[in-house]
Symmetry: C2
Subunit: 266 residues, 2 copies
Amino acid sequence: MSSSKIHTNRIVILGAGNVATHLALALKKSDQKITFIYNRTINSAKELALKVGADYSDKIHEIPADADIYIIAVKDDAIDDISRNLNIHNGIVVHTSGGISIDVFQKRFKNVGVFYPLQTFSKIRAIDFSEVPVFIEANNAETKKSLLHLAQSISKSVTEADSEKRKGIHLAAVFSCNFINHMFTIGSELMKKSDSSFDLLKPLILETVNKALELQPKNAQTGPAIRNDKTVQENHLKLLEEYPEFEKIYRFVSESIYKSHSKKEN
Amino acid sequence: MSSSKIHTNRIVILGAGNVATHLALALKKSDQKITFIYNRTINSAKELALKVGADYSDKIHEIPADADIYIIAVKDDAIDDISRNLNIHNGIVVHTSGGISIDVFQKRFKNVGVFYPLQTFSKIRAIDFSEVPVFIEANNAETKKSLLHLAQSISKSVTEADSEKRKGIHLAAVFSCNFINHMFTIGSELMKKSDSSFDLLKPLILETVNKALELQPKNAQTGPAIRNDKTVQENHLKLLEEYPEFEKIYRFVSESIYKSHSKKEN
């Protein structure tokens, strides 16, 4: 951690999707050298390669064997297959998945690790990568040091996390990202049914989030479930009769809110 | 709507909780005259009355009978009881609840209505009331006109909504506010279990919300459920074994995400 000068790595990115794209752009910005983009569809490989000034291919055997770091940023279930077919010398091989263990690499490479950025990425949205927390794991001390340096070159928030800890964080992220987005989808559907625009919920949503982040969510809970207001809840369930999935969510989330908070008082 | 000058009403507020407080402060700021605060505990009545320069009492028969507008901003299940005991001349009586019908007033008053601000209020947090959507209902045209004027004096977003429409909006708000806060509570619990701070989720949460508001939530959905990634989901359910309520939520929200999006393709 004492080295103030950032070492320039020759980096190969495997994948050209949302994570691969944002990571490649952030690394290029911090003067790392992206030498090669591999992707199974050539058009996306080319598109990203042009952005970062790299060579590219859709053939895995064309990947140069002498790079310093290989970052596999593909769908979870493709990581194993890609790493099985990757032939390299001594570089570090990492994947970027929250939910996949470092053991996915088996004994295929000498230096392996995980480089997990905790964020939801879309190609069409700019991200300030310096604010994205990155979690690092490695199979040896030298590799860990290299990965920590690499992560610190693009993010202010770098933490070590083994595979078990990372899986817990990933699960927390599913609730705090994927699941809240679905609550918004349901909200939007119900607003449409009431001939109203989802936009009318914006001030409420922004205040809810700011309040939770400032007060801690457990202290910010309001609504009929925490008050155990059965009359309002029965009315709501009646309105949800035509949406059986939303009705189930309403029941179980309300029950969980009530139980989480009545436990607190014990 | 043609009157550009804002009529000054003499207003009585019944209640001194979160909604009553924010509403009273916003009305005072727009030069309406709050003459009286009633609350069943005298200390809160006094506290709010001092803030807005009003008289106050914890005795309902001490409320002046000649005000223009009576705003009942109390818990849902107390509205009926308070309105039953309220003796007034010709003023307008409204409640502020999303989930309660205008019929709660029965035939007790000549002019009744609803004044529903769509926001989550806490005494300790400042709110820009001009951004809060207000939904108005009334039992006659003259009352509706007065309430629209009153609402427009404090908010840029005023909409008419009958009780049925308002209940739909309130239900959408429960999903978009109360339920997302519970998702954050679960996220926070799982982070704690992984020896990690909830703060690490902040950049993810802020990006998730901004993305949903810009792209519409249905277009912003990501994660294992929409990909129908059973391996990741089974791993997550294993991690949730010690949290039976969270496990149920995980199952049903995942199922609902998958179904909502597979329907879209039909």
